[in-house]
């Protein structure tokens, strides 16, 4: 692997940047692997990377039906935070946060992780009580968080309308300074490059269309391009398509797939240097380094696989943002798109074994899994490597929906992000 550095940049400038090495190989798959990961999004690629790097399992393939990162990984609004209410989720997302903090160095790839802070606004007394409870829970768990009043919010985001005469006045917020944003496609590329360098085969343009299952044990995957590929273990990390893969294996998952949309404006001068989220008016916004406002909100209510949603949802999103920032009313929107998010009844992921031996699922991240990418990959890799779920992953098993041990994060994760 070519090491990236300032010096390298200078050296390549001499040859007009025409001699850069390809970032990863494009191999033909082998007949058999120790582990096959289905889905080349951030979570699948991170899993492959940590399998090779931390657990020495390098005979690994990632099978992706489209292109690497082309699913939700490069469709999200890139918000990273770890201020979840319940211990189980707080520990999982904080595990990810710690990995984010060293990720660019670890991968030798600039994922542009920017800890510009995340505000979760409160607009009612009940909001403020919930925020106070969550901030206190976070602090007890060693996660940074502060309660701010409207005046303090105004100091951080001077251009937001925090006046008391709004329909939904800003009464305060939780503030996680370590939260922020990252460049989402760079995250997929960084993990892909790292995994490839350690020997992982990245197979693109090839869909998994079935499983080979013998006596209740998975032994391989059937693919559209290369027939059957044998596998010791199979990890499915296909987000919105998890239900489709579960169907292929004869399993049911407590998931429904919904479109989630995002939009970006034309680039404007720097106006917002943090992330603003509001559950109550239901929208969130940040500004990218290019200058465009990155905006998102809630899912479309119906099930869908179409990677597009409806206009009424966009209208609600934009009106929520204007409630907070009337100053944006003349900004034009440039692009809009949708991803398919796999939502669970308790708004927490499924990181789990299944009834089929050696077949694992890591899904259900729904509207908020980008922030978990390195942590999710790490705990999933550990679980695949050891054949036993990682401590942080254990509470997220599928059978919590039969035992009743739900991790109800709708309060903290009520807004899609």
């Amino acid at each position: 692997m070519q090491h990236y550095s300032g010096f390298g940049l200078l050296k390549h400038a001499m040859s007009h940047h025409e001699n850069w090495q390809r970032v990863w190989r494009n191999p033909t798959p082998k007949k058999s692997y120790d582990v096959v990961i289905v889905g080349g999004g951030g979570h699948g690629l991170a899993t492959a990377y940590y399998l090779a790097k931390e657990f020495g399992i390098t005979n690994v393939a990632v099978i992706e039906k489209g292109y690497l990162g082309g699913g939700n990984t490069a469709r999200n609004t890139t918000i990273v935070r770890s201020n979840y209410l319940w211990d189980e989720s707080a520990f999982l997302y904080e595990h990810a946060m710690k990995l984010w903090e060293g990720l660019s160095q670890d991968l030798n790839y600039n994922v542009m992780f920017s800890q510009r802070g995340v505000l979760n606004l409160g607009h009612t007394l009940q909001d403020m009580r919930d925020i106070s409870r969550r901030v206190n829970a976070n602090r007890l768990n060693g996660i940074d968080g502060e309660m701010l009043d409207a005046q303090q919010v105004k100091e951080i985001v001077p251009d937001m309308d925090c006046s008391a005469n709004r329909r939904y006045p800003v009464m305060g917020a939780s503030w996680q300074p370590r939260g922020g944003v990252a460049r989402h496609d760079a995250v997929a590329w960084g993990f892909a490059r790292g995994a490839d360098a350690l020997g992982v085969d990245l197979i693109q343009q090839c869909a998994v269309e079935g499983f080979e299952i013998e006596d209740g044990t998975v032994t391989g995957v059937k693919t559209t391009q290369y027939g059957t590929i044998k596998a010791g273990k199979v990890g499915c990390v296909v987000a919105g398509n998890s239900g489709v893969l579960a169907d292929m294996a004869g399993l049911r998952l407590p998931l429904e797939s919904h479109p989630l949309q995002a939009l970006v404006s034309e680039p404007i001068k720097p106006i917002l240097d943090t992330v603003v989220m509001s559950n109550h008016v239901h929208g969130y916004v940040s500004q990218s380094d290019k200058g465009d406002l990155v905006i998102g909100a809630g899912i479309d209510g119906y099930n869908g696989y179409g990677q597009r949603g409806s206009y009424p949802t966009i209208e609600h999103t934009v009106s929520a943002i204007l409630e907070l920032f009337p100053i944006f009313s003349r900004v034009r929107m440039n692009r809009q798109w949708g991803g398919i998010v796999d939502t669970t009844p308790d708004a927490c992921p499924l990181i789990s074994k299944t009834e089929i031996e050696n077949l694992y699922f890591n899904c259900g991240w729904g509207t908020g899994g980008f922030k978990a990418t390195p942590g999710s990959g790490h705990v999933f890799a550990a679980s695949l490597a050891k054949g036993e779920m990682h401590e942080l992953a254990k509470p997220f098993s599928i059978d919590r929906f039969n035992t009743g041990a739900l991790i109800d994060e709708h309060g903290a994760a009520g807004v899609a992000h």
Binding site: G243, P254, E256, Y305, G306, F401, N402
Partner: protein, 112 residues
């Protein structure tokens, strides 16, 4: 953006007037007292999530407020049929793994 025909108002109206209420034809357990935790979990939390035709329950929330059914393709978003509560679908759903406890399954409901 959907234009949805409300079978009660007998008019096509914009999507915003409606609320999608999820999988249709889920049958309540007939003998709740004897249900295992697993069966309860399945009834409450596990939904069909097909890529293709799906039987759905919708409500005309800002219109007549009545519930009705729709068969819709979740990949193309095409609405295949609309029918009233009490009526049966004519279009089958995409193949999906049936509920383990088939007293809840829509196939069963359709047969009944």
């Amino acid at each position: 953006m959907f234009l949805i025909y409300c079978p009660y108002c007998e008019e096509e109206r914009a999507e915003e007037e409606f609320h999608a209420s999820g999988e249709a034809h889920i049958v309540r357990p007939t003998d709740p007292e004897s249900l295992s935790d697993e069966a309860w979990g399945d009834y409450v939390f596990f939904r069909k999530n097909p890529r293709g035709n799906h039987h759905e329950l919708w409500q005309h929330t800002t219109g007549c407020r009545k519930f009705f059914y729709m068969t819709r393709d979740t990949a193309t978003y095409e609405i295949k049929e609309i029918y009233k509560v009490g009526e049966q679908p004519k279009v089958a759903t995409a193949p999906a793994v049936p509920n383990k406890y088939d007293q809840f399954s829509s196939e069963q409901a359709v047969k009944k």
